[in-house]
């Protein structure tokens, strides 16, 4: 029997409408109470807010995903939500320019929505979107904390088309909240709220190759302008975005291949999954022998890979003074049998059945990176997050109902 504390509207000095809708929240029911506040800092513009009283032991697990723009965060998010079984879609009936993705279990919000300056404002002040001064970390923190505490928030929307801040949208506490964008690990208070954090680290060479492909081939930009835009962005990127990777529990590094000399089109990639050791609920994937240093070219007698083949590396290392395990894949998959063969030799994948990684990769074979380490490692990280979520849930179930109710009560305050 789960307990929860319901606060009256009176206590909050607000006008309120109380909804009695219930919905299945894992095996537990969730009572949702709408109320409005004027002075509550949780909402940006004193709009109506929703408090979700997650009964029992349901808890929002918060994941941070940091990367530069155009580095595959949205693909990653689609892979992550797919692991949980549902498709991720923008909020129904809301602002068509919403940056949010919602699936049965997971809500992905974009940290661009916490820009404090719109495009004009940034231009006037001469700051980029990468600059912390263009972002409202207080609000970001308060929102993430509220959601983690089971409290819905009204989050602003940064409209990437107009460059303006649109009216906010309601974000209800999901099972898993992913905060993705430029700065999810920048603010120490926000960082503290993260149950797991990931940094997508695209090397300059690959970033450049990708930009050329997208902006030159698809958007008709000139090589000069692409170079100039990357150069202009670099100082702020190096100052504010890149340093976040030291806090990440997992880093996916995307580098040029070492299998083909001078390959610089970014078509064959060397991808490294850097996994921090000693992170609660996270047990790094390994190849053959945990803690040893290995290379593995699975192509041979049993598997014939086409040129340039596939090469895996695995081993312990240090990353910003942290002990880590690194799994690396250089090359690309051509066929299903290569993928299942590789999956078969990786351990600690947190799959629920034999071949789940391969199944996930095949399901989204049209996503970018499905034939290389970006897709493979994003899928693996997705599985690890599911595992982490389930362990947190299981742990919270072990707590006594009294403790759970106390914890529940305190989160609402």
């Amino acid at each position: 029997m789960a307990l929860c504390t319901v606060y009256t509207t009176h206590a909050l000095h607000s006008t309120c409408s109380v909804s009695t809708q219930t919905k299945k929240h894992l095996a537990f029911h969730q009572w949702q109470v709408f109320f409005c506040t004027h002075n509550n800092k949780i909402t940006r513009n004193s709009r109506c807010s929703e408090i979700s009283f997650a009964t029992g032991d349901a808890k929002t697990v918060v994941i941070g995903l940091a990367a530069d723009s155009g580095c595959g965060k949205s693909t990653f998010m689609k892979r992550l939500t797919s692991v949980f079984g549902g498709a991720a879609e923008p909020p129904k009936g809301g602002n068509p320019y919403s940056n949010t993705l919602i699936s049965d279990t997971t809500t992905v919000i974009c940290m661009d929505d916490y820009h404090s300056l719109d495009r004009t404002g940034r231009k006037e002040k001469g700051v980029t979107a990468l600059d912390p001064r263009a972002n409202n970390f207080d609000l970001m923190y308060e929102h993430v904390k509220a959601i983690k505490d089971g409290v819905a928030v009204e989050k602003p929307i940064y409209n990437h088309v107009t460059g303006l801040l649109d009216p906010p949208e309601l974000i209800q506490p999901p099972h898993i909240l992913v905060i993705e964008g430029l700065h999810p690990m920048f603010d120490p208070r926000v960082r503290e709220l993260l149950d797991f954090s990931i940094y997508l680290d695209i090397s300059n060479e690959v970033k450049f190759a990708w930009k050329i492909q997208r902006d030159m081939a698809e958007r008709g930009h000139s090589l000069e302008s692409i170079k100039a835009s990357i150069e202009a962005r670099k100082p702020d990127f190096d100052a504010y975005i890149d340093p976040q990777k030291q806090y990440a529990d997992a880093v996916i590094e995307v580098l040029p291949t070492q299998l083909i000399p001078d390959e610089d089109e970014g078509k064959v990639l060397r991808v490294r999954l850097v996994m921090k050791e000693g992170v609660k609920y996270f047990s790094p994937v390994y190849l053959f022998d945990e803690g040893s240093t290995l290379t593995w070219i699975p192509c041979g007698r049993k598997l014939t890979c086409s040129y340039p083949g596939i090469k895996f590396s695995y081993g312990p290392d240090t990353y910003f003074s942290h002990e880590v395990s690194v799994l690396e894949m250089d090359g690309k998959f051509e066929r299903l049998d290569e993928l299942i063969y590789v999956e078969n030799h990786l351990s600690n994948l947190s799959t629920k059945f034999y071949g789940e990684v391969t199944q996930q990769m095949l399901k989204h074979s049209d996503f970018p990176g499905s034939n290389n380490g970006t897709g493979l490692f994003q899928t693996i990280v997705g599985l690890k997050i599911r595992d982490l979520y389930e362990q947190i849930l299981a742990d919270s179930k072990v707590e006594s109902p009294l403790q759970a109710s106390k914890a529940q009560g305190s989160t609402v305050l």
Copy 2:
């Protein structure tokens, strides 16, 4: 019930003594009949010979081991016989300069005993011991064939001290006959008789380092004279010894380490075990994933190796147009836990119990190469030979008694 054919002394036109001694030969009994011949080519100097009628399915398995002098053949042989459980010793009560080693199961004979020219003879004719003209391959073939057929032989003895050919010694057909020396795979007829063949391939650098250590440090030779002796030996070695490796089922290559730059004292070695694919009764050892290409540094979180550590490599390759698997170990073991950890990760070792390789290595920790790949791979090859022998034995047991008796009869003729 086993059958055998016994020939009378009369039929061989010789005076004979018949022994009725019986001894346990696996699960079968062996009747041994002594007889003497004058014209039988089997003996070199028309001495008495012994025919063993191995009843049932006991069969002599013949192994060839080729290598240059001073390359560790005798250590290898001690490791091999140890795998079968018995100590190898020179024939009791015989010539103290015998080159033969006998254990319960295995007899090792040295191909130097088939020198057709003694030291003086070679000097006179200006040929080295490596030159086929200094060796009697006809006799070698006939003896090996006879032993394989269950017939004892009187083998000459080359006295390494005097450089003379001493009176012969009696060699009875053992379970396993190892013919070791410079030319066991030189003659195609002898090669054809081998059930398994091994070549110890010591690189020039290591050979040089070893010779310096032995001949300079221990025997007081000058560096100049060592160099001169190696140089003088090289043309014949390259012409007659080295080419045999193309016929070997397993090659143990001993090379300088790649872990320490410019290490040339031969103290740290890189040893490669080249195993031919498709050899009946021989299934190559592999590391983690059969047929893939791998490197493995077992030193890491679970095992802390001292400098320069240990590095294994494994993978498919070709060797003289044959498909092979190559297992390589660079570096040296410091402690037992390193050895057992390595053994634990190798597959197809043909051990009979967990840790048998380690146990064998520890048992002979005073043998040269016990802390590196030479000892490890010699031990492994020993286990593979035991396995090969047991498979051959099992196969021959499957033959019908009639077939077995026919085969037996024909070998004596």
